[in-house]
């Protein structure tokens, strides 16, 4: 499965998306975050630990306990507060 990152998260990743073998598909969003934090650089790992960095599954904001399957479209978005 492909994990997409938006805006500055993608810059931190340094590529367009992160790929996970279908067989390794994590059970839920929390497990995905944990898996990603071990696999990406420290800055992106820190961002992913922020609960306000939200995860969308199939274009819907997902809770941490939302279950995942390998066909899901998963993306992470950064918060911003500037005005």
């Amino acid at each position: 499965m492909k994990i997409l990152f938006f805006a500055r998260l993608r810059e931190l990743l340094g590529s367009d998306c992160f790929e996970i073998a279908d067989a390794d598909c994590p059970a839920d969003v929390a497990a995905l975050r944990a898996m990603l934090r071990l696999s990406v650089n420290a800055q992106l790992a820190e961002s992913l630990a922020d609960p306000n960095v939200f995860c969308a599954v199939n274009q819907k904001v997902a809770g941490e306990d939302q279950t995942l399957k390998s066909s899901d479209e998963v993306a992470f978005f950064p918060p911003m507060t500037g005005g």
């Binding site: 805006a7 306000n52 274009q59 978005f77 500037g82 005005g83």
Partner: protein, 250 residues
């Protein structure tokens, strides 16, 4: 009823086949609280006044600084050191005499915030930090008022409408974590003027949609834009049953 002068002034938006006269009357009868008269609030307040919104309450506790001028287009060289709310109210009052403008030149909080929110039809958030955004969200939930929320920094922006009274999600359903002062801010991360201008302009459009019912609003959806690449995404936001701010509502 709209006067002949009003029909002339708003003729180009009334010309849209599905923008009804009653929408224009609804705008005229609407009160909007604009919190933050900076990069978002500048185009937001101008477009709302120009579109015929009857009354604006402009709130900002800050004064104009030189570093604001590249993006906060309501203010100019002569306004440096002046209250942003007063500077904004003066310009809008001069250009759009039909719009009744009042101003809060102190930071809007506590009972004054609750009263201001209760007195309007809609609140538009163009502030620059989490504590104000969470406080505004709670005041809107309490008063059952829709909150049109925009943010921008660097080349990125987002826009959403939180309408708990209409069954929708609140700001905290999307951003659960209170505590931090800011995520990405213009002060610390920089921003291009037109980026925050695009978001403030879209925010004005969204306010018009929510007030009139014209078009498709972003109720319980968040639009994310990266204007560096022009990439954009819309994601649906569900009400979270365990949300600390709206979870115990009805």
């Amino acid at each position: 009823m709209l006067s002949d002068r009003e029909l002339e002034q708003y003729s180009r938006q009334l010309m849209l086949p599905d923008f009804r006269l009653e929408y224009q009357e609804r705008l005229r009868a609407s009160w909007v609280l604009v919190v933050g008269c900076g990069g978002l609030g500048s185009p937001l307040a101008i477009y709302l006044a120009a579109a015929g919104v009857g009354r604006l309450i402009l709130a900002d506790g800050d004064t104009v600084e030189r570093t604001n001028l590249h993006r906060q287009i309501l203010h100019g060289e002569a306004d440096i050191g002046r209250s942003k709310a007063a500077s904004a109210a003066a310009l809008i009052g001069a250009h759009y005499p039909d719009c009744r403008v009042s101003q809060f030149t102190e930071k809007l909080q506590g009972e004054a915030l609750n009263q201001a929110v209760a007195s309007v039809n809609l609140v538009a958030d163009g502030t620059d930090n989490y504590p104000t955004r969470f406080a505004l969200n709670r005041a809107c939930i309490r008063a059952r008022k829709p909150l049109v929320s925009a943010a921008a920094a660097r080349s990125e922006g987002q826009l959403a409408t939180f309408d708990v009274a209409g069954g929708g999600a609140c700001y905290r359903c999307l951003y659960p974590q209170e505590g931090a002062n800011a995520a990405l801010s213009c002060r610390d991360n920089g921003v291009l003027g037109p980026v925050v201008g695009v978001l403030g302009t879209l925010q004005a459009l969204e306010v018009i949609k929510v007030l009139t019912g014209w078009g498709d609003s972003l109720r319980s959806r968040v639009l994310m834009m990266d204007l560096r690449s022009y990439e954009q995404n819309i994601v649906q936001i569900a009400r979270r049953p365990d949300c600390p701010d709206c979870g115990d509502l009805d």
